[in-house]
Symmetry: C2
Subunit: 322 residues, 2 copies
């Protein structure tokens, strides 16, 4: 059954397109809650997207990503650009304090109508979170923000996958980020477009930069040379250079035609991710109260039915022959 | 359509159950290649699984996981137990040397008929890799190995998810694993059952152990107290203590009944993961040469159809109304 064409709230979508903050906030909440009205709004505003420059920033917890984004926001505002920030934060309940602390670093922008800040947390499926985040980014774009920053916390490929939907991917590290360097070196994490070493006052900064250079020298050469920018974001140092590199990368992908290639690839992955997430959610929902599945699982636990056969039975039951 | 009941090669499954190494190797290759005959064998041998103790070991690249597994293998063999090792290694082409080096550390066991070592690499979908790895672990179990070690390289939740199918999850770190500590602290990575700090000769070992203790003290208290074991695996130091902790954890989960709970949860996730991976693969395969999808994607790129609507159309086309 096709999703019934929901009547989007015309006022909400219209207000969002006019740049109304509350309309944007409301639409993101609908998307986050997986309310069909949220998708209806995205559907309506989608023709007005594609204008914003979308930047993804990832890196291990504690490197100062929020401070970096705060500093970048200040610089972009000074250049007359409007900014939206989406922090994707799948952290655990016992660190809510830290997360709140991060958000506080952005408070100086809370009263600026040219800046929109939102965080999304979801302990459950990263798939669902990723899905909602991408829809939210489209809403921010349609609301007329010139720059959209997507921020994820993490040190694995899954986190990079989320921000890979950005036009430019920035990896933030700091002296001591040995595990991330090793992950880059081993190819567990893909090489980003720009690497930032924050907290450059640390005595081990030079060592860290040398290690990163070593890793980059091993990576296959592409047209774009990945720059390493040293910052001390809490004092705004190195931010101008970082902004320059963001602009240079954007100019590069626009000139080379890779921006449209990248966006086509990203949109393809997005469609696929949305479809898969929806299928998975439907399967999971079906299982919650399903006695037949409980019995099937009993068979698996008793080692009478193997997991793959159970999966086949599950798919057959869900009406999705595979 | 149900998967046609494949006639499993009775000789191969039978030989595998008798502990024949070549039969085990062949069956794993079938599973890795997603050959239906592989699933047929798993189906046949599944009633004979559930006997092995399954240990998962993860940690950032470079901490010495292979050396640890080599030392553990030696200790388990000395205790008269048979061992299988499955290394899941989604690393990039330019680090094949490093991977080969890792494997070399296990060579002293290559001629021991009581030890079976296998690695799996797949740059593509982690979903597919995870799926094949779990099937391979079942094959190792059925082939009569007493201990099965699953090893993944990584520093994110995705890597932990794979080894989460083990009965006991071990996280290996080393002095300098700051990013992993931060990931544990921020709740980005779940707390494992046992933490190993390898390369304990390093001057910063004490600092690292203190930091881990700090993180563990923040975590919600469960019945099992997560031990921190310091090792120098290259010289076999600390391995006895690690073996003791592995045994203690196993005794604990057996006594508390959490082993069967955990296995039920793992099997549930496995069935779900298999079903989702299969759906996703089917979607992806359908897209490769599909002109209708290419046109749909053109519409998305032209900003005429939004990604969620395209996903709905895709699912409808695949006959999986969602």
């Amino acid at each position: 059954m096709m999703r019934p064409a929901m009547a989007a709230d015309p006022t909400l979508a219209q207000r969002l397109l006019e740049g109304d903050r509350r309309a944007l906030a409301r639409a993101i909440t609908l998307v986050e809650n997986e309310d069909p009205a949220g998708y209806a709004i995205v559907q309506e505003i989608y023709p007005h997207t594609g204008r914003a420059a979308v930047f993804g920033l990832t890196g291990p917890p504690g490197v100062g990503k929020s401070t970096l984004i705060g500093a970048l926001t200040k610089a972009r505002r000074a250049a007359g650009r409007t900014v939206a920030v989406l922090s994707i934060d799948p952290s655990s309940p016992f660190t809510q304090g830290a997360v709140l602390g991060d958000r506080i670093r952005l408070t100086e922008h809370f009263l600026d109508p040219g800046v929109f800040i939102r965080s999304m947390a979801n302990r459950g499926a990263l798939g669902g979170l990723s899905e909602a985040a991408l829809q939210a980014a489209l809403l921010m774009d349609a609301a007329g923000k010139d720059d959209v920053f997507l921020e994820t916390v993490g040190v694995g490929q899954a986190e990079v996958d989320i921000i890979d939907h950005a036009d430019t991917v920035v990896l933030a590290l700091m002296p001591g980020s040995g595990d991330s360097i090793q992950a880059l070196k081993a190819g567990v994490m893909e090489i980003p477009d720009i690497i930032v070493v924050n907290k450059r006052d640390h005595p081990l900064t030079e060592t860290m930069v040398r290690e990163i250079r070593g890793v980059l020298s091993l990576a296959p050469q592409r047209g774009w040379r990945v720059p390493i920018v040293q910052t001390e974001a809490s004092r705004g140092e190195g931010i101008d250079e970082l902004v320059t590199k963001l602009d240079e990368h954007r100019a590069y992908i626009e000139a080379e035609g890779t921006l449209s290639e990248r966006r086509r690839r990203n949109l393809r992955n997005e469609v696929l991710a949305l479809a898969t997430a929806r299928l998975r959610r439907r399967l999971e929902e079906g299982l919650e109260e399903d006695e037949q599945f409980a019995r099937l699982l009993d068979e698996v636990v008793a080692r009478r039915t193997d997991p793959a056969t159970a999966a086949t039975a599950l798919l057959a039951k869900a009406g999705t022959d595979a």
